[in-house]
Chain length 246, copies 2
């Protein structure tokens, strides 16, 4: 048997940015190794990051090894994988539209991270809590609606999926972001959900795909937790909406 | 005469993220229109952003119109343009390496922005100055060295340019970032420059390219200012290094 062609390198205990790559590989049914989750895998990842005579060093996980090629940056990995996994049409225009969406998702992911780390990634959350409260409030009040409203408007334009009638990797990524934001900010997202019916329907449509459903139910799906990007700190969420009487 | 094939849409008074696209178009000598800098251009940009029956809405400038295709996200625009402008080799591996570098530059650019806007893009700098001081201190002390040290190590691996012997769009972008950081944090960068000789040499090599030199000397190059991404707020910079006696 030949070894799996794709090696994913990412932190073994969080979904994080690696999850966008995992979802694409899982949806495609592609054979892959999640290297750092194997025994000795963290050591292998750290070595690989330093690079060697043939391969340049890597700035940060996630990164992908495919044959001799080692590449990092989530959106870049997806742009490289997607034509090979049939998760994007092959024409330049479709690929540019998918990458545009993925990079807008990446911006939203970075802001979701900074909601709990506004002052510095090198500091603990506990040391930047007052700033985090302010940043998270603005994130929930204006940034989440702006980003998700944008994806909603793209769906109004495109149809069932972000590029049209067929699923692309951007749909898997938007699914992941909606799940992550709902985990981190359940109150804020309960309010927001009413404004994004198409996006909610897309999330459900992705969750029901046989391979994604099997993946989500498996041990390969790491639960959300407070070491990842989407963290549930109740003090950063919106207040619980009052129940209306009618 | 046929109209220029490329239309760039970006804020007319700042370098910002649009500058990475401008540099690529200028280096290639490609005919383009910087739409929003023309009379009535801002109105045209705002209309185009809303989209229409054929074209989806745009999240944010910069965006590029090429024929019927309208695409946003700086790195995506560059990945699309580069093979057309001969600013990247055509093979998949080189294109993935260039995009990886560009996206790492984009992460650095986002952090440079957040150094003066750690709490929220919707707030004035003046309303988040204490948080900005903390974030900028960490940015200068650990993030700039981490990012620039990484690009330095890539150059140690690749040679004169980031992909090897030939210039790519990633080199133009790293030039822009080094210029921007030097404008924003002259003291911090004076210290840093000693640790990144290859990167400093690359910056000079790019600045001397005939089309880039002509562009930088022209009115098309908007000066850095405090509305852009790289802002010079002296209170956010490192202290002036003491002159050593020897």
């Amino acid at each position: 048997m030949s070894p799996p062609p794709y090696e994913l390198y990412y932190w073994p205990s969080i979904q994080g940015r690696g999850e966008f790559v995992r979802l694409a590989l899982e949806e495609a049914g592609a054979p892959y190794v999640d290297v750092a989750r194997r025994p000795g895998g963290m050591k292998a990842m750290m070595e690989k990051m330093r690079g060697d005579a043939r391969t340049p060093p890597v700035f940060a996980p996630p990164f992908l090894k495919h044959g001799d090629l080692v590449i990092a940056q989530t959106a870049n990995i997806l742009a490289y994988l997607a034509p090979r996994l049939k998760l994007v049409p092959r024409d330049d225009a479709s690929r540019a539209r998918a990458l545009e969406l993925q990079l807008t998702i990446a911006d939203l992911v970075a802001e979701a991270h900074d909601a709990h780390h506004p002052i510095g990634v090198d500091l603990y959350y506990e040391d930047q809590r007052p700033a985090a409260k302010k940043r998270a409030a603005g994130f929930i009040a204006s940034r989440i609606p702006k980003f998700l409203g944008y994806f909603e408007s793209r769906l109004a334009h495109s149809g069932d999926y972000l590029l049209g009638a067929k699923l692309s990797y951007a749909d898997l990524s938007v699914f992941q972001v909606v799940c992550g934001l709902s985990y981190a900010f359940p109150n804020g997202m309960a309010r927001e959900a009413k404004r994004i019916p198409r996006l909610v329907a897309l999330r459900d449509r992705v969750a029901e795909r046989p391979r994604i459903a099997a993946y989500l139910a498996s041990k390969r799906r790491i639960p959300f937790n407070e070491d990842g990007i989407f963290r549930h700190y109740p003090e950063l969420d919106a207040k619980k909406p009052r129940r209306s009487r009618d």
